[in-house]
C-alpha cells in the first residue's frame, strides 16, 4: 500500500505555501475556550504534499484518462472551457452576500440558465438551488406535498415509484415524510399499467418516473400513465437522470410532468469530482411553480435580483446555506452557450447512436440485451446471467477484468430487477474506435471466462491493488489513520 500522508509527516516540518505572521491570541480567546493540544494534521513539505496528491490522482480512472461507460451517470467529456469560465477571479471571489448592485454578472448568468432550462424541459419556472439530483428529488416531493396540503388534501401521502427506480427515489419519499409504493415493470421494461391502476387512488400524492426509464428504454405509454395518475388526483414527478437521451427530441413538460429535476453533472457536462459536486435544478409547471424553493433570480427594471421568501409565500423554503452550487451552475451555463439549442439536439442524437451501435456490436457477439426487442436509448442494459451460469464468472468479475483492459466498468447490478446486469452508457463524446475497443474487450473477457474462469474471478490483475475485501472493511472498521 502507498503510505498515507500521515506516514510522511515529521514534527515541525511544514510547507511554505501559507505563512502568516504569528501573533499571540491569549488576550482575545480566554483560556476556557482554548484548544489544549494541536490537531493531528500532516506536517510535510510543499513538495511532499504536491507529490503525494499527484500520485494519488494517478491511481484514479477518470473521463480524462479512460472510457467510463457508467450507465445512468452520463460520463461525457467535461469541457475545459466551461471549467475555466467558472474559475475566473470575479466569480471565485464573489461573496454570496454581496449586494445585488455588485452581482449583476453572476445573477445575469443564473437568470439566463433558468431560461435555458425552462426551454429545454418545457416548464414554466426553474429554481437552480438544489445541490444534487437527490436534493432536487426532495424538493419535488416537498412541493407535491405542499400542493396537496394547500388543497386540504392531507391524505395524499403515497409516492409511487417503479420497482426499477433508482434508490434515491424511495429514500427521498421517506425523507419527505411520504410513503414509497412500488409499481411493477413489464417484461418489455415499461411500467405495468394494470399494476399502476391498482396502486393509485385517493392516497396518491404522485408518481416519480425517469424517462427514458432506469431500464434504459423509453416509457412509451407515458401519456396513459399521466392520465391515470392525474385522473386519480396525483401529480407527476420527472427524475432527469436520463435527460441526455431526449434533449431536443421530447420535453418532460410536454409529457405532462408537473415537476422535475435535472442533473447538471450528467446532461450538462459539469465535472463529477470523484463523487460531487452536482447541481439539481428543479422546474415546475404553472400549477407547482409557486412552491419552488428560494432563492430564485428575477429580472426587474432595475436589474437582476434575488426573489426571496417574502415574495414567495407558498415556497417550500430554503435548502442550502446560500444559493446552491453556483460554480457548477456557471459551468452548465458556459456549456449551454457553447452547445446552443442546435448542439443540444446533436447530443441526444449521437448519445443514442453510440448506445444503439454498441448494443448491436455486443448482441452480435453473443451477449444478451435485457430488452432485445427495444431500441437502446442513450444507454442499454445487458444481462450476464447466462454467461455466469455457464462459466461461474459474474457481472462483478467482468467489471473488474474490464479495468485491466483499460476501461472503467459500466454500472453493475442496477437496475436490480435485471440479473447480472451491466448498464452501459457510452455518451456522445466517445469515438466509434473506442466503442469497438470496448466491445472487443468484452468479447476477449468472455473467451477468458470460458477458458480460465478462475483467472477472471481473481481480477483485477493489473491495478495498484487486487480485488479488495469489502466484508473485512465492514467487520474490522478502519475509517481513520490515527
Amino acid at each position: 500500500m502507498a503510505d498515507t500522508i500521515f506516514d510522511k509527516s515529521r514534527p515541525t516540518r511544514r510547507a511554505a505555501a501559507q505563512r502568516v505572521e504569528s501573533r499571540a491570541t491569549e488576550k482575545f480567546v480566554p483560556e476556557q475556550f482554548q484548544r489544549l493540544s494541536p490537531p493531528m494534521l500532516p506536517e510535510v513539505s510543499e513538495l511532499q504534499a504536491v507529490r503525494h496528491f499527484t500520485n494519488l490522482a494517478r491511481r484514479n480512472f477518470s473521463i480524462d484518462t479512460h472510457f467510463y461507460p457508467l450507465g445512468s451517470c452520463t460520463m461525457k467529456y467535461n469541457p475545459r472551457g466551461a471549467h475555466r469560465a467558472a474559475m475566473q477571479d470575479g466569480f471565485l471571489n464573489r461573496h454570496p452576500l454581496t449586494p445585488t448592485s455588485h452581482s449583476q454578472g453572476v445573477l445575469s448568468c443564473l437568470y439566463e440558465l433558468q431560461e435555458i432550462l425552462q426551454n429545454v424541459t418545457g416548464t414554466a419556472q426553474v429554481c437552480l438551488t438544489p445541490m444534487a439530483g437527490a436534493q432536487g428529488e426532495l424538493t419535488g416531493a416537498l412541493m407535491i406535498k405542499a400542493y396537496h396540503a394547500d388543497n386540504n388534501d392531507h391524505e395524499r401521502l403515497e409516492i409511487i415509484v417503479p420497482t426499477a427506480a433508482h434508490g434515491t427515489n424511495p429514500a427521498t419519499a421517506s425523507m419527505a415524510g411520504l410513503i414509497a409504493k412500488e409499481v411493477e415493470v413489464n417484461a418489455d421494461g415499461d411500467v405495468d399499467l394494470e399494476s399502476l391502476k391498482r396502486v393509485v387512488g385517493p392516497k396518491t400524492a404522485g408518481v416519480m418516473l425517469t424517462n427514458p426509464s432506469t431500464c434504459a428504454v423509453f416509457e412509451r405509454r407515458i401519456q396513459a400513465i399521466s392520465d391515470i395518475v392525474h385522473d386519480a388526483g396525483g401529480l407527476l414527478y420527472y427524475d432527469g437522470a436520463n435527460l441526455n437521451a431526449i434533449l431536443g427530441r421530447a420535453r418532460p413538460g410536454d409529457m405532462q410532468f408537473d415537476v422535475l429535476h435535472l442533473n447538471l453533472h450528467k446532461t450538462f457536462a459539469t465535472p463529477h469530482g470523484g463523487g460531487g459536486p452536482g447541481a439539481g435544478p428543479v422546474g415546475a409547471n404553472e400549477l407547482l411553480a409557486p412552491y419552488l424553493p428560494t432563492p430564485m433570480v428575477i429580472k426587474s427594471e432595475s436589474g437582476y435580483r434575488w426573489l426571496d421568501q417574502a415574495e414567495r409565500p407558498k415556497s417550500i423554503g430554503r435548502l442550502s446555506s446560500f444559493m446552491g452550487n453556483v460554480g457548477i451552475l456557471l459551468r452548465a451555463y458556459a456549456y449551454s452557450l457553447m452547445l446552443g439549442g442546435n448542439g443540444m439536439c446533436d447530443v441526444s442524437d449521437y448519445a443514442t447512436l453510440n448506445a444503439n451501435y454498441l448494443m448491436r456490436r455486443l448482441s452480435d457477439a453473443g451477449f444478451h440485451p435485457a430488452y432485445p426487442v427495444r431500441r437502446a436509448t442513450h444507454e442499454f442494459a445487458i444481462s450476464l446471467r447466462q454467461e455466469a451460469k455457464e462459466t461461474g464468472v459474474t457481472a462483478m468479475d467482468f467489471a473488474k477484468r474490464l479495468l485491466d483492459y483499460g476501461f472503467h466498468a459500466p454500472t453493475t447490478y442496477f437496475p436490480l430487477l435485471i440479473p447480472e446486469c451491466f448498464l452501459i452508457e457510452p455518451t456522445e463524446t466517445e469515438t466509434k474506435e473506442e466503442l469497438d475497443a470496448f466491445a472487443d474487450a468484452m468479447i476477449a473477457i468472455l473467451k477468458e471466462a470460458q477458458q480460465d474462469p478462475e483467472f477472471v474471478k481473481q481480477a483485477p490483475h493489473e491495478q495498484s491493488v487486487g480485488r479488495l475485501d469489502e466484508v473485512q472493511a465492514v467487520r474490522q472498521l478502519d475509517v481513520t489513520a490515527h
Binding site: 431536443g248 463529477h272 431500441r375 491493488v465
Partner: protein
C-alpha cells in the same frame, strides 16, 4: 457539433451496422404527439472563445472591493497548489468511487480527509461530506433523532444565535419528519437554556462561534443538555478549531454529532457554492451517519487499499429505509480541503486562525473609535462581531461600496435594531491598510 467526434463516415458506417437510414429512426419509440422539433428557443451555440469573452465580462462586473463580509463564508487565502492539483482531470472527472480498484486515489484521499476532520473536531469518525453546512445540520438533526430512539419527544432545541439560513434550511428539511425545531432564549447574544425548556428534548444544537461571532459557554451547555438526556450537536467552523476547544472535548463527554461547512478550508467563496458540509460522530453512532464513508481493507494478497464501507446505510442498498437520500456529495471540494489542510499543517492553520482573530479585533477596536460606532455585545468573540451604528446600515453599506469596501452583513430583521447593526469580519487576508481604508471610508461619512 462541439465535443462530438463522429465523422460523416463514422456515422454512415454505424447506421449501416444498425441497418437504418437515419438517426431519427432510433427515436421511433417516442410517441409522435410528444416529440418536439428541436429547441428553437435556445440560441445557437457559440465558440469557446466567444463564450469566454462573454463570461469574462460578466465576471468583471462582480468585483465589489475589499471584503469584510463573513456570515458563513470567508475570504481566506488559498495556496496555489490546492486548486492546481484538485483540478487535475483524474480528480475532477472521476465518478463516485464505486469501483474501488480503479479509484484508489479518491478513496485514500477521503480516508485521509476523514482522519483530519476527526482530529480537528476530536471525534471518532467523519463522513466523506454532504452538500453544505446548512444541509449538514439538517442531516445531523435527523441523525440525532435516529440515535436517541429512547426519547418519545420530537423536540430539537436550536440557538436563536444560529445562522439564519441554516435555521431556514433545517426547517425546510426536518419538519417533514414531524420534528419540532424550537429556538432557545438569547441573552446578550448567547444561548440560554432553562431546565423547563430542556425537559424532554432529543437534542440541543450548539454553534461555536455563534452567528454573531461570540464564544458560547459550550462546556456548560453540553453538560446540561447531557444531564437532561439530550444529545449535543456541535456546529463549528473548522478553521477556528486550530485555536478553539474541539467539540469532542466540550463539557462532560463532548458533543455527540459535529457538523459545519468546510468552505474556510481552501474553498473559494464563489457565491457560496460549491462548498461542502461535514459530519462527524462517535463510533457508537457510525451506523446512523448518512453519506459515504471510506474504509481501509486488504486484497487477497494482503495489500492495503480503500473501499466505500458501511454501504448498508445508504439509499442504493436500503432504499426507503436508508439513513438519508443523499447520493452525490461534494467530493471535489473535499479533495481541495484535504490538500489545503496538508499544506497548512497544524502550525499553518493555527497562524491563519490567530491572524483572523487578531485582525477582527483590531478592526472592531479601530472602528469603535468613531463616536457613532459601538460594539453590540460584551462577550468574547472570534473573527466576527456585531457593530451598532447611528444610521441605517443600507446607507452605510452604500457609502462603503463607493469606496470599494464590502463592509459587512446588515442584520435587518435578525436582531433588535438590526437595521442599524452589521456583522463584520476580517480574515488573515485583510491588512492593516485595509482596516485603515475601512476606518477612513466610514469616518468620511
Amino acid at each position: 457539433m462541439p465535443f462530438i467526434p463522429h465523422t460523416h463516415a463514422d456515422k454512415e458506417s454505424m447506421l449501416d451496422t444498425l441497418g437504418i437510414a437515419s438517426i431519427d429512426d432510433l427515436f421511433d419509440e417516442i410517441p409522435k404527439e410528444i416529440q418536439c422539433e428541436g429547441l428553437p428557443d435556445v440560441p445557437d451555440g457559440i465558440s469557446e472563445m466567444a463564450m469566454l469573452s462573454h463570461m469574462a465580462k460578466r465576471a468583471r462586473d462582480d468585483s465589489a472591493g475589499i471584503c469584510f463580509l463573513g456570515a458563513g463564508c470567508y475570504d481566506h487565502y488559498i495556496p496555489s497548489a490546492v486548486w492546481d492539483i484538485a483540478s487535475r482531470g483524474e480528480f475532477l472527472t472521476a465518478y463516485t468511487p464505486y469501483q474501488a480498484e480503479a479509484s484508489q486515489g479518491t478513496l485514500q484521499l477521503v480516508y485521509e480527509f476523514q482522519t483530519m476532520l476527526a482530529s480537528l473536531t476530536s471525534m471518532d469518525v467523519a463522513n466523506a461530506s454532504v452538500y453544505d453546512g446548512a444541509s449538514a445540520l439538517a442531516e445531523a438533526i435527523l441523525m440525532a433523532v435516529r440515535v436517541n430512539r429512547k426519547s418519545k419527544s420530537r423536540r430539537v432545541l436550536v440557538p436563536a444565535s444560529l445562522h439564519p439560513f441554516y435555521l431556514a434550511t433545517v426547517r425546510s428539511i426536518v419538519t417533514h419528519q414531524d420534528i419540532n425545531v424550537e429556538l432557545m432564549a438569547l441573552e446578550d447574544g448567547l444561548s440560554a437554556i432553562s431546565d423547563s425548556v430542556l425537559n424532554d428534548a432529543i437534542a440541543v444544537v450548539v454553534q461555536q462561534p455563534n452567528f454573531f461571532g461570540l464564544l458560547e459557554d459550550v462546556d456548560a451547555l453540553t453538560t446540561r443538555a447531557h444531564d437532561a438526556g439530550a444529545l449535543v450537536i456541535g456546529v463549528v467552523n473548522p478553521m477556528t478549531l486550530a485555536l478553539l476547544k474541539p467539540p469532542g472535548d466540550w463539557g462532560d463527554t463532548g458533543a455527540d454529532i459535529v457538523c459545519g461547512d468546510g468552505q474556510p478550508l481552501g474553498i473559494p467563496m464563489a457565491s457560496g457554492g460549491p462548498s461542502f458540509g461535514f459530519l462527524c460522530t462517535r463510533m457508537a453512532h457510525v451506523r446512523q451517519l448518512p453519506g459515504r464513508i471510506a474504509g481501509r481493507t486488504q486484497d487477497k494478497t494482503g495489500n492495503w487499499g480503500f473501499v466505500l464501507t458501511l454501504q448498508a446505510r445508504e439509499q442504493h442498498i436500503r432504499r426507503a429505509k436508508a439513513t438519508s437520500n443523499i447520493c452525490t456529495n461534494q467530493g471535489l471540494l473535499v479533495t481541495a480541503a484535504t490538500i489545503y489542510m496538508t499544506l497548512l499543517g497544524p502550525q499553518g492553520l493555527n497562524e491563519v486562525a490567530s491572524a483572523c482573530v487578531r485582525n477582527t479585533h483590531r478592526l472592531a477596536e479601530r472602528l469603535t473609535e468613531l463616536p457613532n460606532v459601538s460594539m453590540r455585545f460584551d462577550a468574547p468573540y472570534f473573527h466576527e462581531c456585531v457593530l451598532d451604528f447611528e444610521e441605517s446600515t443600507d446607507a452605510i453599506q452604500h457609502r462603503l461600496l463607493n469606496s470599494g469596501i464590502l463592509g459587512g452583513y446588515p442584520l435587518t430583521g435578525l436582531i433588535e435594531k438590526g437595521d442599524q447593526a452589521m456583522l463584520i469580519c476580517a480574515t488573515e487576508t485583510r491588512t492593516d491598510r485595509d482596516i485603515e481604508s475601512y476606518y477612513r471610508a466610514l469616518s468620511d461619512g
